[in-house]
Every structure is written in C-alpha cells, then in structure tokens.
Symmetry: C2
Subunit: 339 residues, 2 copies
Amino acid sequence: MDIRITSATGTLSGPPVSNADLARRFKMDTLWEEWIDAFIGTRTRYLTLDLTTGERRHSLADLCTMAGREALDRAGLGQADVDLLVLATATPDLLVPATVNIVADRLGIDEVPTFQLQSGCAGAVQALYVARQMLLGGQHHTALVIGGDVSAKHFDLNADLRELPPDQLVNVALFGDGAGAAVLTTGDTDGPLLLRVLNRLVGLNRPPGQVLEWFGLADLDGDHVFAREDYKSIEASVPAMATEILKELLDDLGWTKGSVTHLLPPQLSGRMAERITKSLALPKAEEITFVADTGNIGNATPFLQLERALQQMTTGDRALAIAVESSKWIKSGFALEKT
Amino acid sequence: MDIRITSATGTLSGPPVSNADLARRFKMDTLWEEWIDAFIGTRTRYLTLDLTTGERRHSLADLCTMAGREALDRAGLGQADVDLLVLATATPDLLVPATVNIVADRLGIDEVPTFQLQSGCAGAVQALYVARQMLLGGQHHTALVIGGDVSAKHFDLNADLRELPPDQLVNVALFGDGAGAAVLTTGDTDGPLLLRVLNRLVGLNRPPGQVLEWFGLADLDGDHVFAREDYKSIEASVPAMATEILKELLDDLGWTKGSVTHLLPPQLSGRMAERITKSLALPKAEEITFVADTGNIGNATPFLQLERALQQMTTGDRALAIAVESSKWIKSGFALEKT
C-alpha cells in the first residue's frame, strides 16, 4: 500500500529573538554572543515566552493546534476526515491529559485513536513511523501527525546565567519553540510517497548525551537543573550516526548518493548541520536546513523540513531525512519519493 | 496473522501501605480512614516512597525493568529476542531520555524501535494497540510491552492534608505505584490470542476528569497542585462508558455476554470496580480485580490483570478487558481467547 504525505506545515511563536536579545535579557556580555555564533551557529530562535514582559504567549497545545489546522487546510481536509492522530513531544503541557487530546478537542477531532509519544529529536520520526505502520495495517486512512516542543517553559527569567556551567548554559541558546504537522494518507494524492521510516535505539551501555528533567513536588526544594547536554559527546557521535543512517537508508532503498535530490539533515545547531551535511557528501542534494534561524525546535523540526520539501520536490525527486536523538542515542530518518 | 500474549507480569514496590499508615503519616484522623473505605474502597497500596524515612526505593525505570525482565523470563525469551519495545506511563522519570530507553539499556535491549506513550489509564491498552499493529505489519515478531506509574514522586511528606480540597485529597488515597509487562508474539505459543484492541478518544467538548501537572522552572514559585480529580464527573461517566466499551467489543467479535469467561474491569478504585462489574452483568465471567489492595496503578493495571488471566484461562476461555481514561475521556479495552 502507498502512503503519501499530502501536506506539511510548521508554526513558530514570533518574533525572532536574536543572540543580542538573549544576552541583554540574561545580563551576559558580547563575548557570550560571539560564543553562540562560533560554537552553536544559531542567529535567532522563536520563543513562546516574551523575554521582556515574561508573558507566555503560547502553550504546546496552542502551537500544535495551529500547525494541525494548517496541515488539514493545505490537504483540503476537515477534522472529520482524520481517523488517526499522533503527536510527539519532549515537553508536554501537562502529564495528563496528554496534549494530543487537548489538540484533538480544539481541532474537533473525536472518536479516533490518539497517541502521544514522549521523545526528543527522534520523536517526529517515531510519530511518522507509528502513523505509517497503522495506515499500512488498513484500519486507518488519514493520519494527522503533529510534533512540537516548548522549551521556554523552563526559562527562568531571574536566573543569573553567569553562574551556569557550560552544559546548562548551552541550552539557553540552543533551543527554540515550535510545532509542525503533516497529513499522511493512503489515498492517491499528489504528495510524495513515504517509502521508509527508520527508528532504532542504539544506546546500549552509552551514557545519555542529553537529559531533560521534569519536576514533581518532591523536587521543588533545592537546585533545579532542567537540562544538561554532553555537547562534546554529541559532537563526537552525531555526525558518525548521521552517516550510518544515510548508508542504511540508501542500501535499504537501493538508491545511490547521486540520486538523492533533497537532504533534510539533523537540526541540532547551525554548526552541526553544516558539519553533517558536508560529511554526508550528497553531490546533488538540495539541503533543507533552517536551524540557524529557528534554533533546535525538537519534535517540530522534521515537519518544517517536510513543508519545504513538499514545496520543492518535483516528479522523480528523492528526499532523505536524518534525525539523531542524542538523549539515549536513537537513529532515525525517512525517505520520500515524488512519483 | 495471530498475535498472542505469551507472558504477563506485574511488579509492586512493597510493603503494602494501609489507610491507617497514610492517615498517621499525614496527620489525618480516623474519620478520613473511614472516608477512604466508604468513598474509595481501597484498603492498601504500594508506594515507592517510604513514608517513614522519606526514602525513594524505586524509580519508574526500576519497576519497569523488573517487570520487563520477569515477563521475558516467563516467556522463556532473552533480550535478543525482543524486536520492538513499547512503554506507557503518565509519570516518566525524566522528559528525556524517555524511560523506555533507560529500561532498554538495563535489559540489554538494543538496535530495535522503542516507543513511549504518554497516557493515563488507557496507556497500557494504547501500548498493546501499537505493538499489535506493528506485529500485524510483519516487520516485528516479538514485542515487549511495559506500563507503569510512580505517583508517589509527587507526595509532599510535609504537606498538611487537612488543608487540601477534596479534588486533591482524593489522590493521596487513590493511587499506588507499580509496573507491569507482557510479551506479544506472532509465533505459535500457548498464550491466548489478542483478538482486538480498542482505543478511541471520545472527549470532544468535555472538560477533563483528571489533570496531572508537571512543573517547569517557571512553575517553581507559588502553589503547586499536582493532581486534580473531578471525581463526580468520573463517577457519572465511567460506568456508562464501560458499558459502551463492552457492547462495542461484543458486537465486533460476535460474542454473547454469556460466552465471556473473564472480565478485567477498570481499576479506578475499589468502589468503582464493584459498581462497574455489577452494571456490566456478565453472567459467567470471573472478575479479575485487585484495586482495593493495590490502589489505582495507572498504566501498570492491565498487565497485572493479564498476569492473572493467563494463569486462569483454559482452552475456549474468552476474556474482555475494559479501561477508561477519565483525563480527556478515552474508551479502551481488548479481547483475549485461549485456543
């Protein structure tokens, strides 16, 4: 059975926040701005938190609802057409109800199975994996797949960043907020075929590269470290894993490097995206990357890449997406072909 | 293709905590003990938190690892036999890495797809749904499916419960901690067939019956309400939803009420389980219920019920499980037949 991606879209919570904006708000100096530029390569990001007023503009459910509605509109579908809803996030608004069910309610989707995957950078691919497998099972025909993250929930506007160790400081500059969505269908639409979805844990005996805490009442006293990055370990491992994912997808599909027209590389940071794309060395592939402008937007990322891929791909084009989750080390990716 | 449940098991974090233990620890009076007995009908629960010392004995990953290992042992399988791992919880240890990947590491499971579902009382059924659909797809053959919850993470031993409103007070008595696991296979084992899995959101325009918060740094000031129950709404809706789920499963399978030999009813509370089982009125079904002894153990529940069902079922037996998630209102359940 053919599974196609009929539409895809992304939603950010504007306006863009520059490194100078960040530095000013957190009383950091221009040296830090230069460090972000050199080390991370991210120029701007979009945050649900207004750094000046402290106002929280959007929840994850808000962003996911906007993205989901737009994806349905672009597919020319209504909420009643959706018979499966899958959402991936690392940063749910609540533990219960799952954000996916709040989003369903706002979109008017009901009487269908809903699933919410808890995941980091591989979550969007995992959601595509689950949706594709269920569509292939024949019981479902139109899946709305959503991914998003709101990391700004964890920003402490009173924090003195000058006292933060580097493995925490990096997160302030690295992440942005956003959501994205795609419609997958078994019908004969003009979207590209979703030929493969790869998702595999490869973390045995490896310490996590990234840890995001959440807090129960028991944790409310003492020091609160939301996020820790082992950035050196990430830098050492992610490019190699991206190369392995590429090889595995190419071998599985019987594609050559030269036949790939679009590459959707990991979007951990601007610098990493550059390095990875260079090392993958796909001679003819148009690179779809934006992390330098949006920051790392976690589970939203592949949907924004898909949005651009759908705009750019013409008949015969082949796209490969690669995502690496550095938390406990997950290889993920997918392959599209426009027929 | 036939999907069978080869083994199932549950893990609790002992010893049992009585209502008198709870009342003593939180300085409540014997009236409260009587209220728990009359209103909730739960006598004991198992908590990962030692109420006397404050020691936290087990994390969710600890309990899930124990349950997963035991389920594999009972199935006579090793970690290398598992080609799919699915975990459901409402209360992950961390946001990232997902608990499923920590559990995989401890069990020695690697190079396979892993998924973690964020869900309340329907989560275990959702995990069975996902695993069954993937096994039916033919790419996977042996799935380890795990569910668990650790609510005691949120217990504040310094709280004065006498000041809590009823919609929060109920949670202290209602929940227990635990995990469970099952092995699903496409092979010809002597476990019962997993004939159907039902999972459907029915929450359109209905306010949540249960809300569990989690906390970002931004929430660390002020009052922290972890859990709120609309117990009246739950009492009004859940028995009716259970009846609808029963009817739907029976109709779908072409089974009569009289042909069902085992009923695995919702385990919200002792009183609710009694009421629901009575209203379902299955004339010959053995009821598998234990909530009065364990408390509501969320995503662990159906696995403990499955453990007993597998012990009790003989050739020709038919079991129906019913679970209702009151968060945003999800109907779920499944059907087993021993051939």
